[in-house]
Amino acid sequence: MAVKFEPVLTKFIDNPDQVKIDTYIRNGGYKAAEKALKSMKPEDLVKMVKDSNLRGRGGAGFPTGLKWSFVPKGTDKPVYLAVNADESEPGTFKDRLLMEKDPHQLLEGIIITAHAIGAETAYIYIRGEFFHPAKILDEAIKEAYDKKYLGKNIFGTSNNLDVYVHRGAGAYICGEETSLLNSIEGKRAYPRVKPPFPAVQGLFDCPTIINNVETLCCVTHIVNKGVNWFTSIGTEKSKGPKLFAVSGHVKKPGIYELPMSITLRDLIYDVCGGMLDEKRKLKAIIPGGSSSPVLSADTIGTQMCYDALQKHKSMLGSAGVIVMDDSVCMVDAAINLTRFYCHESCGQCTPCREGGNWLLKILESIEEGTAKPDDIDLLLNACWQVEGKTVCPFGEAMVWPIQAFVARFRDEFEEHIKYKRCPIDKDRSIRR
């Protein structure tokens, strides 16, 4: 592999003992938390993370330090930290690794962040299917309480912190931060109207910061290694190490920690060993989880950073990269994802709840060869009826992929309609 990068977040993941607190400490763990709590004021930490340009690793890429600074100063209400470990975006599978293999790295990030925002309670919201990672976290939390890194007067300071694992139960929408809060409150996970933003009025109507697992793991290392180290990695606006989760038609799918200056070409052909079936051609790439607009093969020169992908009218999102070769029918791929979004729509807003089914029907008629030539425009019109018309960004997550599949592979959509059948060999493509 020509691409070289010294991993930080995943440095110890191959060591099965890393889940134990003593091993974690031996490998330099909890030094950052001790330093932060004993010698840094909350405002110093907020400034440090702001200066590092750390952007949220969950998908939206919002600057983490700025988010922290939205907690009202001198609030008399309790402040909460909610950890987003819902990881449900198709193509994304990085946080599970961090929780399963190095749970204390996350706990340390939680302790530091709680100090920065003034929280004494943190809930780790983990998707329900992740039963084993939840057990590993529970065990790690127990170990941390025993060492007095959690509980009352942690590290001998006046800081108190309780951390609890809260399991979801199979709803993708809980990755959206306000529905995650409703889910912790024991309700149906309907997203809330913003404002008020959670930093002001979140969990139990109190100020709440919601951060992704990987984001919090980064915080630990920023405190340890400093702002200059963090900003020396990556591109101008995309700083720090990043986990790329690559799946689909590559030889070596998996999770790779890299700077965001890496090109898609290097990621696929160098890091991941190239196409799974070398006789097949690269056709399409979803760069940042299923809701990020698909790219065609001619864009693989792009860097995998926030700005460059935006220039290609896509986004880095969660950096869950799905690689597809030319055996995949683009209409089928769009149907597969639209079916996912239909199934996962929470049902609160009409455009999303109803629109999804209409989009699916039109796409299916194209695939089955029964669509009329102007049905592609009808499809795009239906997308427009959903986009920007819902309480949360789920509406966009549903239609952006469809719009991109049409924009980049319109010929293939038109071919379906013209010849009244799918031009791709079904035995090799997705069967429904």
């Binding site: 599978f93 199979g170 024991g186 690559v246 799946s247 069967r431």
Partner: protein, 157 residues
């Protein structure tokens, strides 16, 4: 009549309630607990949980119906959930389903006559790098091949 759970489960209830400043927040952990204890969440248990959390019964019902992992009915001893979202789909999720169907003689949503296996197709399990993937009860089975699936099913008794 209060919510009846095993002794271990009963002990857990107190621990769970202590984690939250509001009782209703204990809803999902307690629903998980009931399901682990009894295999599903009956209407009777939903009513009892509503009393325990001091919320109207519809609040409990609404949550049970919203989240796909909560079951109002019994399923087989082994619940097989095959992921069929994009990364799994392009790497043969349909073959996984076909192999299980043939081996067990059941269709999607069906349960074998002996009550051992229930088969479901589900959306993304968040394990795309090891596609195709299925979950049986609490465990993930990854990088599935035809031989592997048969071996796994034969090992479950």
């Amino acid at each position: 009549m209060a919510l009846k759970l095993s002794e271990k489960g009963q002990h857990e209830v107190t621990r769970i309630l202590a984690r939250y400043p509001e009782e209703q927040s204990a809803m999902m952990p307690l629903l998980h607990l009931i399901q682990e204890d009894k295999g599903f969440i009956s209407i009777t248990d939903q009513l009892e949980l509503a009393k325990l959390l001091r919320v109207p019964p519809m609040k409990v019902r609404g949550v049970v119906e919203f989240y796909t992992m909560f079951r109002g009915e019994k399923c087989g001893k082994y619940l097989i959930q095959v992921c069929h979202t994009l990364s799994c789909a392009i790497l043969g999720a349909h073959t996984v389903v076909d192999v299980i169907r043939q081996k067990l003689g059941i269709d999607i949503g069906g349960t074998t006559k002996d009550g051992m296996f229930t088969l479901m197709k589900v959306e993304c399990l968040g394990s795309c790098g090891t596609a195709p993937v299925m979950q049986i009860n609490d465990d993930y089975y990854e990088n599935l091949t035809e031989e592997k699936i048969i071996e796994i099913l034969d090992s479950l008794k």
